[in-house]
Symmetry: C2
Subunit: 347 residues, 2 copies
């Protein structure tokens, strides 16, 4: 059910005069890497194939349905930024997308989601069982691709990211409905579930280019900070976006009792009726239809959407800074613009 | 709910005079490898740790609860059979157990199981969400351990096995409730979901010992055939074992509409009332309480439990033959006894 709730923040207008720079920067990135991206898309389709027909069917529903391909683009861009001239980055970008897709499939099962990227989620169409098992297949297939690539460094980076993602997801599960969740705990969750793969996606680009450790670490730092910014914005959008634009139902995090940053801040500063409200709706998960509207009022009262975006902007600044050790180039500019404008996206 | 159904086959008595040789052979294997097995258990406990407390808690429920450690024992035994003297087999045996445990966690979610090894299953205690995510963690951790080991050959073997397992599981899902499932399709399912990991577990033992390809292939063939025999017996036991001994509810496969070998044979040869019965209960999944009893009658009428065990014995013979290229040794004898007696196990 999609509740009709008016967005309560339009911070993007303050940032870029109403244009959507974040999409522009991503579009510029995708355009600059068009041949690589198309090769990656071909690799994705080729490597998700299996004699078991349900696997490509289900994978296609999610993988081929599009999405921004943000994470594989980061691998492609990082490699090119480092002057990489070979073809390995294409297969590894496909790996990164497979790992991401596997986690999406499992996330949607865990969250009981019905929408993903504006379409019915895979679990809603094919069932939870198929989503769990095809997720496992894509994850294993990602490792097969890495083994074929042959770099133990790449395998180390991405297997560690995969373990960290799972830790972040489990931590998120244990903080669900827990009003005692601290800011620190929240940042641990998003560092694991989101930033770890952004960091790894960037780092492998430097590794296959044979760049020194300092540069690979700078790429990882860029990805890490970009991922933190990205997830903070995501968590703000769950209370602020137009559902039609976001491609998922608004208020999902609230209904699932997720202690995301906008809510954490509101809970910390609320008192009396607010505390009672959060305890009932998020702590005990007892919600009525009008509760999301009340939650949005309290969130607006404490201005926590804009404060969440401000935190995202600080991470974006760190991402931009991380790339300063690379000489100026069109690719560096574009990656910095992606970070600069990630807080301007509306969906 | 555990139905009170009398076991309809006691084939083990015909094979070994009522003793349980299969357990004896496994016990002998575990005894011969006692130091290695204890080191593996320590590695398992050490490496399933995480700052996210729910991970070791849930993993301990399954991993530390015991189980036969059959698959890691195969890795340890194969390495020793090949004269391996180092310590890598211990970490790789832990990897194999992690992959197995991850698939068990996801299986139990997919099958909605409430019992595993005679205890409440992890999903019943911790919920499906935690089981999905901790499974993902263990899977990723297995790859981290392999990367630390550093052999791309081992990584290739186990990542391929992991993809094949997932394919087998998805194939099983698509054949569920499908009365048109062929024998070939059934064997494809069990080759994927069970035999692939048995084969990989054995093969890596030869690989780390640096044995020639022919010997590694022989070990893989042993594991593959043992795994086929093992799963056929498992599928027979689902209709024939004492629930208390089996450690899971009897008739699970029937209730889940799984087209396992004992049922496939009965369906193929049934007519009239039998066809109508299988169509309703397995094809359409409409079951009443007395239906399991009727299923057991039809299965007995076509003697399909004993015929399933006969197929298992043929695979066990192939497993035994596979090891003949190795010079005689106590370890070879024990591994052959494990195959010889796998069809005698009652739980």
């Amino acid at each position: 059910m999609v509740l009709k709730v008016k967005p309560i923040a339009r911070w993007d207008k303050n940032l870029d005069g109403g244009t959507n720079l974040s999409i522009d920067a991503l579009t510029r990135l995708a355009t600059a890497l068009d041949a690589d991206l198309q090769a990656t898309n071909r690799a994705i389709v080729a490597r998700m194939d299996s004699p078991v027909a349900l696997i490509p069917q289900l994978a296609a529903h999610l993988v081929a349905a599009g999405g921004k391909r943000l994470r594989p683009l980061l691998t492609l861009a990082s490699a090119r930024l480092c002057g990489y001239e070979g073809a390995r980055h294409v297969q590894l970008a496909a790996c990164v997308e497979f790992i991401h897709t596997a986690t999406l499939l499992h996330d949607d099962v865990v969250d009981e989601s019905v929408l993903r990227r504006g379409l019915a989620s895979a679990n809603a169409v094919f069932g939870n069982k198929a989503s769990v098992l095809v997720g496992d297949f894509l994850f294993a297939r990602a490792f097969q691709l890495m083994v074929a690539d042959g770099s133990l460094d790449v395998l180390r980076i991405l297997s560690t990211a995969a373990a960290t993602i799972a830790e972040g997801e489990v931590l998120q599960l244990t903080t669900q409905n827990d009003l005692g969740t601290t800011e620190q705990r929240y940042f641990d969750v998003i560092r694991g579930k989101t930033a770890a793969l952004f960091a790894a996606a960037c780092e492998v680009g430097g590794v296959i280019a044979g760049r020194p450790e300092q540069e690979c670490a700078a790429l990882a730092a860029y990805g890490q900070n970009l991922g933190m910014a990205f997830q903070l914005v995501d968590d703000a959008l769950d209370y602020a976006a137009d559902a039609a634009e976001l491609g998922k139902t608004i208020g999902d995090d609230f209904r699932e009792g997720k202690l995301t940053y906008p809510v954490l801040l509101a809970i910390a500063e609320g008192s009396g009726e607010e505390t009672a409200f959060w305890t009932r709706t998020v702590g005990e998960g007892e919600q009525a239809e009008q509760d999301l509207g009340t939650a949005l009022e309290f969130i607006a009262r404490h201005d926590t959407i804009n404060r969440t975006i401000a935190r995202a902007q600080a991470f974006a600044e760190s991402a931009i800074d991380s790339l300063k050790i690379f000489p100026p180039s069109a690719m560096r500019d574009t990656l910095q613009d992606v970070a600069r404008t990630t807080t301007a996206r509306r969906f």
